[in-house]
Amino acid sequence: MRKLLKRPDVGVIFGCIFLFALFSIWNPRQWFDPSTISNISQYTAILGLLAIGQTFVILVREIDLSVGSVYGMVGITFAGLENSNVSVVVSFIVAMLFAVVIGLVNAIVVVRGKLSSMIVTLGGLFFYRGLIYVTTHGGVTGVPEAARSDWFAQLLGGHFLWAENGFLLLLLLGFICALLLYEMRFGNHLLSVGGDPDSAASQGIPVDRIKTIAFCLSSCFAGLSAIVTLANQPETSVSLGTGMELESIAAVVVGGTLLTGGKGTILGTILGAFFFTAVRAQMIALGAPPSWYVSFVGIALLVVVTINTILSKRLRSI
């Protein structure tokens, strides 16, 4: 119990349990409806994948504001290749390589240029969004039906029994990332860079390389998330992913990861994504105007971060 209370994600764990119980009692028919489960699990997967990538960047004391545009850019690249009759696997590989390159560019400018990642990735946010407009002339087509029924697209966008494949992918990758972060050397190095970069460097940790990997992971997860989205839905638009960067940061922060770096969990991030997704679904079901959701994200962020801060101060002494 002492161990559980000391986790940085204790707030969101209890928050999600509370939310789940609340919705189960309040509106059980709607909450346990298969279409609700499908919607929530699919969107949790999309936001969760983005947020896992963001977690790595935030853990090294940086931030990636470009993920929403990268999500759009990689998604539209994937869709564009599909419409040119390129095979799904090849399109996937090309789109993901593009994501890696974007991550590398972000990282090189931040690390080599010694610039604030907030500025650099804000530039990326505008640049890649602009690139979408320029390359598509404002009109994009989603992934065609034929390509979506391809086995590989089905693997990412289909479902298995009751669950969306995207959600299973989130759980699988989340598990792998958690192992990477807490059970392997890379994780220890990454956390040390986030905790105190100078001290990490004094012990021979390649700080710049670790940050570069974090930015690449962030872009890759953004790209993967976009492909999971498009493998599942028929239409898309040039605004694909707009605002997702802030949602992903909100999910990470609500999940207990400190913006100051060095502390956080993958489980917390996934639960953070679930938290926002579940609330949004319920608000829509209850007929609240969709725009309220945005205000809710703001309030939830403040409340959860306040609770987390108070908890961590209190629990330090246990």
Binding site: N188, S192, D196, S202, G204
Partner: protein
């Protein structure tokens, strides 16, 4: 102290060849000369006190030895080999560790994770390298307790819970058990209590007795005079004094530092 058993000592093999040798080293930032023509040798199994006022060039000297900055002129030899590329990683590989007050441990990690940072032991599960947490826990617990940390310190706890003196002791313990050859202590006893200070100074002497080269940077000439074999005084980017402890009293050395403080007024008179 069990630390004596935990590493192979090389005492008694002190050679005449210096372990670190700096020849006519200068460092200039534009017109500002941080170091001017400094030549100094450091030997294995020696505790050298590096003393001087603020801005005297002590830290600059150490940053060159640690590979953080490259001198603009002069040569540095490590164990007879000329250092051609100055890089922190290389200094670490050569077995040099600089212990500083504010750097060296990550407060967000546990004691055991800090202990093995950068050298984590792994065990293979299904061919994948996972951290050997059991080994990390047991080894780090043994070492930190051998070095005199409280028995109540749990190596799984965040290192932020340790006191200042315990953190310094931890850094020294880590530096020693990873078989380093050179330990540089940069103001290791600042902000420490009297008892903690004595403990850190005792450790410095023990490291030297085990055959390590210990370079101890401080402002406190009286403190270092008690434990050092040799005292090097820096002033205004130059080496002004380099004497065995027995050759001069602490008071005389303090006089040199005090007089040196007026040097900047007279241009280049320090040499």
């Amino acid at each position: 102290m069990n630390a004596n058993d935990s590493r192979q000592t090389e005492s008694g093999t002190e050679s005449k060849k210096p372990l670190i040798s700096m020849k006519n080293v200068s460092l200039a930032y534009g017109n500002f000369r941080a170091l001017t023509d400094v030549s100094v040798d450091f030997y294995q199994g020696e505790l050298v006190g590096l003393v001087g006022d603020n801005g005297a060039g002590k830290t600059t000297l150490i940053r060159i030895i640690s590979g953080i900055i490259t001198p603009t002129a002069g040569e540095v030899y490590f164990d007879g080999q000329k250092v051609t590329k100055f890089h922190p990683k290389q200094a670490i590989d050569l077995g040099l560790e600089c212990i500083q007050q504010s750097i060296g441990i990550c407060d967000n990690l546990s004691v055991s994770r800090n202990y093995f940072l950068g050298r984590e032991p792994v065990k293979r599960i299904l061919g994948l390298p996972f951290l050997d947490k059991k080994k990390m826990r047991e080894t780090s617990a043994k070492v930190v307790h051998d070095f005199g940390l409280r028995d109540t310190v749990d190596v799984e706890d965040e290192i932020a819970l340790l006191s200042g003196g315990e953190k310094q002791t931890f850094k020294i313990a880590r530096a020693v058990t990873f078989r380093n050859r050179v330990i540089i202590m940069d103001e290791p006893t600042n902000h420490l209590s009297v008892r903690e200070r004595a403990h850190v100074n005792d450790l410095a002497v023990q490291l030297k007795e085990q055959g390590l080269l210990v370079i101890y940077i401080t402002h406190d000439i009286f403190q270092i005079h008690r434990i050092a074999d040799r005292i090097v005084i820096m002033e205004n980017g130059r080496k002004v004094t380099d004497v065995p402890r027995a050759a001069m009293s602490a008071e005389a050395l303090e006089g040199i530092i005090r007089d040196g403080g007026r040097m900047p007024a007279k241009k280049g008179a320090a040499a």
